[in-house]
Amino acid sequence: MKKLLMSIISLGIVSILLIVILASCSKKEETTLVIATYGGAWEESLRKAIFKPFEDSTGIKINTSVHTSDFAKLKAMVESKDVIWDVVDVEGDVHARAVKAGLVEPINYNIVDSKPLLPEAIDSNGVGIVIWSTAIAYSEKAFPNGKAHPTNWAEFWDINKFPGKRGLRKDPYGTLEFSLLADGVNKDSLYPLDVDRALRKLDKIKKQIIWWETGDQQPQWLASGEVTVSSAYNGRIWAARAYDNQPLAIELGQGMMDIEWWIVPKGSKKRDVAMQFIAFASRSLYQQNIPKYISYGPVNKDAIEKIDIKLLSELPSAPRNFNKQFLANVEWWANNKDRVLEKWNKWLLE
């Protein structure tokens, strides 16, 4: 028994030593930058378009860490003053909430050149990476060439004209906007959202809806026929068609655009390197690479001009697509999500 006790104690000591050694090692390495991204195909594209060129030209190594809209982890990190992410890639609503909660360092625009960027992608606490869109996706099996498919949210709601199950996100974000558009609200006067009106309109198709929660469910359900039309991320549909040869298509009209942001968590120990990275990532030379790997639209105007027409036509930030869509008002959401969620949950339970 004493032996057992001894071995437990020594195991404990060894593991503590190991942790100390590992911790001191990571502190010594000054020339690495930890970037947290959403991972998957998106990170893969970022690596090819931006991370690799950055490593090659600066000698600074980029380590990535995957997060899942981890507002909670960011908050815990900043509040415990133990910031291990130097740069984080976040969606618009996470960005707005993080800024509101004071978790973000201001951007140094002496280092980052904001001139060529779209005005929507410039914020005192973040710099845009790409614009992506949540829009109407459909299966070409259900709507073969020549057969009309829903092209706006009013038609998406029209169960008689376009029968079949609908896929919508099990979250009020975006879903309420689409519902109001279907009800005839103009895209420029969506905010502040009339939540009750949106829910009433959703009632009309409640039984036809299958609710997705993650991006991978969208192409999966469309391909399997579980749903015939769905709200979906344009990048997911594009990837399913490009890489998996799925007969899927997306209609960007009336889509909701979201900006993806680089932010620097408050208290980051490598603030200057982080700014240097963001400045690098915003240059047109690297911005124009992104759509080669994933169909998200650059926010650098010079980059947009250099992309070939065919590729450009599928990008949410291409001028002709940009005007057909609307930009999600993430500030409104940051201030109202709590209240809206309460109404939303109540509606779900009805």
Binding site: K75, D171, W211, E226, D338, N345, L349
Partner: protein, 278 residues
């Protein structure tokens, strides 16, 4: 065994577990309690909000309802299995155990997704039933209460079987033989001898399954329908989507208190401490 020296050594043995619990369970729990009463100054706002909003009351009731359904089904399915396992000779029982243990060792997410593949409206079961002509329209097994229940029962069943097995195993076979010898029918024997003696196991298994159901998150989220909102889903929303940790803590405290109360009631009525070896 009860000498002072040995109890000191015993204390040394539990010391690591004790330190671990204090550091990683008791301390965070205290922080959670404090957080639920306001981040800056003391306030009851979070609790008042829960009690005064019908939504949260119905979510709590919904969670309890789901937990009771899952526990009841686990009990009905689990008891015969536990009984069979306890009565079979060791070598045969161990083969059966493998069938229970292998899924039990498999990752929760993998198992949940596996069920989704089987149950979805274009899934294996629906396809099969349509092929052989039993169904014209696919049945919705998923995104409703049926889906959550199937998924949760499947995952929690071992937690019901193991405690029941260990109790039934201890029942003296002579008691059953005696009862049958004295003219009781098998059903009478079961109701008067086996069942009362298994009570502790039934209690322990049910309690375990119930507690785990109350906090279940992945399966209801992935397989549940619109109105299968559980308290853990609301907590996750508050932590991640809203960032109101005070309110999330208050919800977590309510869940915690409910479970503690439930444990006390169960313990009192089933005398479970006997199974834990007390």
């Amino acid at each position: 065994m009860k000498s002072i020296g040995s109890s000191k050594i015993l204390f040394l043995f539990i010391l690591p577990a004790l330190v671990f619990l204090l550091l990683f369970f008791v301390y965070p729990l205290i922080r959670l309690v404090l957080l639920s009463f306001g981040e800056q100054e003391f306030t009851l706002d979070n609790y008042v909000r829960i009690i005064s909003t019908p939504l949260y009351i119905s979510v709590i009731l919904n969670t309890i309802k789901l937990s009771i359904i899952v526990t009841a089904i686990c009990l009905v399915i689990g008891f015969p299995v536990a009984y069979l396992l306890a009565r079979l000779p060791e070598n045969k029982a161990s083969i059966l155990f493998i069938f229970i243990l292998i899924p039990f060792w498999t990752n929760l997410l993998v198992r949940t997704y596996a069920w989704m593949i089987l149950l979805q409206s274009t899934g294996l079961i629906n396809n099969f039933l349509e092929q052989i002509g039993i169904l014209k329209q696919p049945i919705s097994f998923m995104y409703n209460l049926i889906g959550v229940t199937i998924g949760m029962v499947y995952i929690l069943l071992p937690f019901m079987i193991f405690p029941m097995y260990s109790v039934i195993k201890k029942i003296d076979n002579n008691l059953i033989s005696a009862s049958l010898n004295l003219g009781a029918s098998p059903i009478q024997t079961f109701l008067k001898i086996t069942l009362p003696l298994s009570k502790g196991g039934i209690g322990a298994g049910s309690l375990l399954v119930f507690i785990l159901s109350m906090g279940f998150y992945i399966t209801p989220t992935l397989m549940g329908g619109l109105n299968d909102i559980t308290i853990s889903m609301v907590i996750a929303q508050q932590v991640n989507a809203v960032g109101n940790w005070g309110f999330a803590s208050a919800l977590a405290m309510i869940l915690f208190v409910l479970i503690v109360l439930m444990t006390i009631v169960y313990n009192y009525s089933f005398r479970i401490e006997r199974i834990w070896g007390g």
